[in-house]
Symmetry: C2
Subunit: 143 residues, 2 copies
């Protein structure tokens, strides 16, 4: 799907537990400027509901499970994250919503830019207009 | 304690849950080149048992609780991490051990460098020799 991809990270597993390492420009396709994490979300709560103009992110569920809906004017998909060694890459102009956070779930996000309020598109109709204009100018062939 | 500090991050809390954002050079005193996370550690397992020559790291417990023993030739302290908005900064030449991982605990580490095997000091006697030599050359006044 446009500007979305599942990334598989190496899980270094032993009797001592599991370790996953993510290095910038090696395991994610950008320099890491920021990380953030979301915890303590009740199961009936949904978050997100925006797209970014420039930001690239990788979402990883470190405990429990979380569902992510990704959308663009032509496509829509729901992905369940429930494995610390799997990340969901979301690039620019992908509308996304997070929901069905299980109890004690942990969502970690690795981000390519510092926080910038003006990079957010929070109105879905504005998003559709902006995404359609971009897609018309730079046509995307579905994979 | 030498090259150790507790960092408090902003917890953006609402009915939608908790979000904590960590930006490089703003909330941690270095550029983030790598992150790694440790999960699935049994309660009787201890990890770490090394120091670094250059690496700076911030350890954050995102679920459950984890104890960290930090040591140098003159000091020793045990810190319990159990709050996603608190990080333990560990700089160079601090011996550290992690233990008492509770079930489903998640330890996230934000790191200043790519992985480099030669940066590790894994033998405690070597560590003592190297740390004492450095401390003799650059005396540290206890806080």
């Amino acid at each position: 799907m446009y500007n979305c991809a599942l990334l598989k990270f190496k899980d270094i597993a032993s009797q001592d537990g599991h370790l996953t390492s993510i290095e910038e420009k090696i395991h994610v396709p950008f320099k890491i400027k920021r990380i953030y994490y979301i915890t303590g979300v009740a199961q009936n709560i949904a978050r997100g509901f925006h797209a970014h103009r420039r930001l690239q992110q990788v979402l990883i569920c470190l405990n429990g499970s979380i569902k992510i809906k990704v959308k663009n004017p032509n496509e829509e998909q729901i992905i369940e994250l429930n494995n610390p060694s799997v990340g969901l890459y979301i690039g620019p102009l992908v509308w996304h919503e997070m929901f069905d956070f299980t109890k004690k779930s942990v969502l970690l996000v690795v981000a390519s830019e510092h926080y910038a309020g003006e990079d957010y598109i929070r109105d879905y109709n504005h998003y559709l207009t902006e995404a359609k204009a971009t897609f018309a100018e730079h046509p995307v062939n579905p994979l």
